[in-house]
Structure formats: C-alpha cells, structure tokens
Symmetry: C2
Subunit: 421 residues, 2 copies
Amino acid sequence: MPKRVVVVGGGFGGLQVVRSLLNTLFAVTLIDRTNHHLFQPLLYQVATAALSPADIAVPLRGIVRGYSNTEILLDEVIGVQLEQRRVLCSRSGALEYDFLVLAPGTRYWYFGNDDWERCAPGLKSLADALEIRRRLLHAYEQAAIAPDLETARAWTTFVVVGGGPTGVEIAGALAEIGKHTMTKDFPMLDPRSIRIILIEASSRILPTFPPQLSAKAMAALEELGVEVRLSQRVIDVECDAVTLGSGEVILAHTTIWAAGNRAPAWLRTLGVPLDRMGRVIVERDCSVPGYPEVFVIGDAACFRDERRGELPALAPVALQQGSYVAHLLRRGIPLSKRPPFRYRDKGMLATIGRARAVAAFPGGIKLNGLLAWLLWAGVHIAFLIRFRNRVAVMTEWLWYYLTFQPRARLLIEMATGERAD
Amino acid sequence: MPKRVVVVGGGFGGLQVVRSLLNTLFAVTLIDRTNHHLFQPLLYQVATAALSPADIAVPLRGIVRGYSNTEILLDEVIGVQLEQRRVLCSRSGALEYDFLVLAPGTRYWYFGNDDWERCAPGLKSLADALEIRRRLLHAYEQAAIAPDLETARAWTTFVVVGGGPTGVEIAGALAEIGKHTMTKDFPMLDPRSIRIILIEASSRILPTFPPQLSAKAMAALEELGVEVRLSQRVIDVECDAVTLGSGEVILAHTTIWAAGNRAPAWLRTLGVPLDRMGRVIVERDCSVPGYPEVFVIGDAACFRDERRGELPALAPVALQQGSYVAHLLRRGIPLSKRPPFRYRDKGMLATIGRARAVAAFPGGIKLNGLLAWLLWAGVHIAFLIRFRNRVAVMTEWLWYYLTFQPRARLLIEMATGERAD
C-alpha cells in the first residue's frame, strides 16, 4: 500500500508539495475549496479591472493531470483528528492520512466586527476580486447619475483599510484607474471629486519594509493623489461611511479591507498551541509539536527563526517550506534526523501604480522607482512562466500601460447574485 | 439646440447607430442594462470555458470616450411614451428624444413556463455565460465525488434545448470539452458516462439553413458523440430531469436553454402591432408605423422583405439596419423620401467543435468541414478586429486547439451569489 499524503490548500505552499511528489510512490490528495491555484500577488489587478481571472489562475486538475498518484478534491476542511490521523471535510467526510500537510492560508480578520465584511470585502479569492471590481465600476456608474455633487462624491470616494503591500497596491491602482481611465470614461465627473483614502493603524505604510522605503512609497502614493491617514484606527464601517478613531467620518460607498489576517478557525481542532493570529506554532521542521507526520506551512504557520524571528507571510516562504517538507517526505527522514528549515530571503517588493515600486533585499540593499518596478514586473512574469499565462499577462500589461484602458472593466451582474448596495 | 437621439441597447444594431453618429451634431444617449458591448456569437465559448469575458466584451464608455456628443446611461428601459416622445427608465426616469432607435434584442422565452429558467438558464449575457460555466464545472466536480455510478451519470449528462446555431455550437463545445478535457481532468469518470443530448422540436437541426447543411451538421455532431433528438418537445424541466413529449425522462443536472426568443415585454407600451414573438412590425424604413422618428432594429424588429420574407435574427441584419438608420438621421431624410432598407445577405455560418462548420451563402453556395470552419474563424476574428481583442482571442484559440486545455475553467463562487443546486 502506498503511503497516503493529504495536502490541504492549493496555494503556493500546498501546490509546491504536490508538484514535488508528482512522480513518487505516495498517494497524494490535494483538498481545496476552489478548483484553481491563484497567483495571489496579482489579485488586486483583477479587482481593479486590469487583468481577467483566467490570467492569474490555473485549474488544479490541469496541473496534476496525467499523474495517477495525485487526486484533487474540491471540498472544505472542517477539522483534523490528529490521533486517528483523519481530516474531516464538509462534503466527503473523513479522509485518512499517513502524512498531512496543512497549507490553508489565512482569511481576513475584522477584529471581531464580522458585520463589517458585508460593506468592506477583503481580497483573498477570485470571487472577492470580482465583487470588488463590480463595486468599483458600479460606484462610478452611480456617481454619473447622482442627483447632486455630494452624493456623487460619496460614490467616487474609495477607502482602503490597511497599509501593507496589498493595501498600498490597491490604493495605487485605484488612484491610477481613477485619474487615467475613469475621468475619460465619465467626463461628467469632476476629477477632483475622485478620492482614494488609505488608512493605516501604525505610524508608516509598509511597516514590514525598511523605513526609507516606507517614505518612498508614501511619496509615490501622494504623488498619485492618494490621501494617506497614518496612526489611525477604523472604529466603524458602514456601507456608506467609515469612522476613524480621530472622529473623522469618511462618506464612501466603497471600502476595501486589507488589514488583519487570521488563520482558519478549524485549526483549533488540532488542540495544539496557536499564536494570537490563530496560526499553528510549528517546530523547526515545520511539523506540529508531538506529531512528526503533520506539517503546517505558509501563512497559517507561525515559524520562529532564531536569526530573524517570525517569518513573514510571503509566497517565497510558503514555496520554500513546501519544497522542504516534500524533501523530508521523499527521503523518509525521521524526526530526529531532520535538518531545521532555513528561509533563504529573496527580498520584498511592493508596487505603486504603473512604473513605481519599492524593493528591499538581504544585506540592506534597497531599490525604488522605475528600476524596482521593472524588477517587480520581471519577478512576477517569471513566476507566471510556470503556468502559461505569461504571454497573456504581458499583452494585457503592455496594452494597459500604452493606453490606460484596462480591458476587463466589465460590470457583470451575477444571475443568481444579490447586490450588496 | 442639437437634436436628441436616444438609442436603446448597445448590441450590434444599437452600437452601429451610435458609432455612425459620433462625429455629428446630434446629442446621442445610449441606454444599456450592462456597461459593455458583447460579441454574442462567441458567448458560448465563455460558457464552455474556452474564452474569458474580457475576450468578447468591450466597455461601452471606452468606445465613445472623447466624443462629447455621446453619453452612456446604465439603466433599464421600462416603457416608451410615443406621443410625448419620452423613454421611461427604471432609475433615471423619463428621457426626452427627437429620434429614438430601439435595439433591445430578445430574451429567452420558456413558452410560458418561467419556472424552467432557474433549472435551465439561457445564454444572452456574460452573467448567463458565467453561470453556465459554473454549473458545467461544478457538475464534473459533483460527479467525481458521487457515491454511485447512476448519480455520477446524472451529473455528467448535459441537455441542450434548441437546435439552432447557438444550441448546435454549445452542444459541440460541450462534447469536445467532455471528451478531450474533462476525461483527463477527471480520470475517475467513465468517459462513456458523459452524455450531451441536443433536443430540437422541428425535424432537423439548424432549421434556417439549407437541408443538406443540416444533415452535415447532424453528422458532425454525432461524430462528436452528441445524441440528437429531433421532432421532440420538452414538456417539463426540473433541476435534475428533463421530460420530453415522447415520455422519455432524461436524468440531468445541467440543462441549457437555447430555444424560443421573445422581444422584451416593455415594447407593448408602444401600443403598435407586434408579431407572435413580441417584435415590433416595422415599416420598410425600419420605423414604427405612424412614428417616422422612432425606429426598431435588430432582433426585436420584425422586418418583412418582399423577396425573402422575414429577415433572420443575425448580427449582419442588425449592423446593416443600424448603418441604414444612422444614414437617414445624418441626412435628415423625411419619411416620404426614404429608400426602403435592403438587406445584403452575407450568408450564414455555424460551427461544430474544433475544426468543423457549415456555411450557406447567397446563390446557393454551401460549404462544410475545415474550409467552412476556417472561414468561420476568419469572419469572427475580422469582426473582433474593430475592438482590440483579436490578439487575445487568437492566442486563446491557438492554445486551446493545440492543447485541448481551455484556460478559463475556473469555478468562481460569487461572494454574494446563491447556488442554484
């Protein structure tokens, strides 16, 4: 009987494990809630109508097709029974495993205010991105037929909560689409009434980057016309207003949530220590304490490195952990002989608009401006090379950068969907 | 004061009128329920995951941008007051016009059984196409985890109602995606359990084409494994079964409606004679009898030509009528001096799968097989040239035809959507 490996989550980490085990004697089952792997770093471009869903997603079954040792299960995990070595799924019931790799990623976390989600969607899935794109396009259409200036202004005010890389990228893209695309599509609107407001709770944006790069990114955003509010907490979100700790009430119909992450609640069924974000505190070999056959990798793992402290929630960390765990499994290395996982820092990148980015590399090397942006574009295209979307994405970008006309600004009302407004 | 032209519908006909009036002194308002023009002949390719929405749709505001005499209104028409020269919209209220061009197209018609729509969606909009794509992909996923063969079989049985060009194209595409893509993505399924059933009420498919081409198309479909039921009426549609007049009950979770069209109900507010499909019976100049300033063009018009009887519901008819009406307006030709509209027949084309098509041209010229398909591909790419999707679509097709891996097979559950099953 082949050993059964169950992998939960088809993101960067989980898919890396599955790919590395394709030509082995393991029987691998990949469980995901969607049927596709998502290139999440570009998801904000779908939300802002620059790319189509198919440009950044690839069907999981297409990746493993032809490998008889691997199967895909479209299902939702609801718990794990560590002693019985079983994963519980909402549709398929219990699945037994010999080895288990958990790579479920994180969900947005509204600091306990779950009712905010309806008015301020996060950006984790293609469905999220399409919903944000729908709200964005719908908002401009509403502004165009608004009876007065004040009403129009509330429709063309966009609030982004959270100044990490995702929030910065969304805010930059919203500012550009507003300035270059929407003012031309909607000549009846006053360009000055289009406002993008980025709210960050700490004293600088991109708090995980070096301070100089935060300052560069801040300057770039402000040049694009983004209003950045630092050291501000959101204390209430409604569908037509956001209230800040300072007492300021921003009238806005479109709010995007890019603050606060939390690992899925079902990780609690493991019964092992979690950190304050609900992530599993893993051993040096990415395994769950006391269960050497169970691993947690990627954003849902809290991995503490002696030298650098907690590893950041980045794709390269998940990818490297995936390769590492697959290596342990392929070689059958017992717990006592496992070398600790070591993260090889590749640096950090964030992009702000069409031709600006900031980058920080190991050894204190920093980059910003066009050079950093070219690097950003190159890295992302190189990643996509492994799928086959490279040509399509390059064509889209070239088109967009030449014409400022994002092609996917299609307002698609779903046949069975309810409108949120 | 410039004369106000209101155009209802941004399909082939309506958009042609708007384009032809871009550089004139008319003040033009285009009203549409969506924000995009749709290249409807390829909509079935979005429904079957071969193309992405942005490949076949183009934002209306992008088309008219820079022309200050033209505005777009995202709204739904609910009626027309001919005497007062006003169009009534559900959001914007009443709009006055000097000239009115109605090009609203048709909706699917369930022969009075509106409850069938929930279980058998039609294919008119991008939202429809994405819903059908979702059902198609979801059905295979359900089949993969079905507890027994009979259940799996009901999930991999697809019923297409209506053997016109749309029904034939969908059935052919479903058969190919089943045979070449899904059997590889879902190795656990028995290929013989994948069934595509096409139901046509008349005695042959493509009833508007010459009989020999119907026979060729029929043979091509059967070669692809499609089961064609001729002279069969659907008497009941449920979400897990379709009942035919013969008494046959087909167990199928996925049914697509491509039979029966009807013009929108609000055309009745005109108070002029309609035909049995609810279409306005127009004069020889496409105008509404008694109202020379109001025109109806495209699928919602019943235009009777002396030589050929009723004009078919085809894109070329709508396009030519649009050019004709715009010409009358630009020249300000009074009713008494208008030459009758003459349709220049460009032929008819329908495609069946990857490299087969049938075509009929004026003068009795007929084509089928690869040559007809190359013509079909050429014609469609030439049409798309006017937008800028040509390169993208050609890349998609080339990829698909080389690999049989449609790229857009993404199962996206909408955040706010309900599932129909």
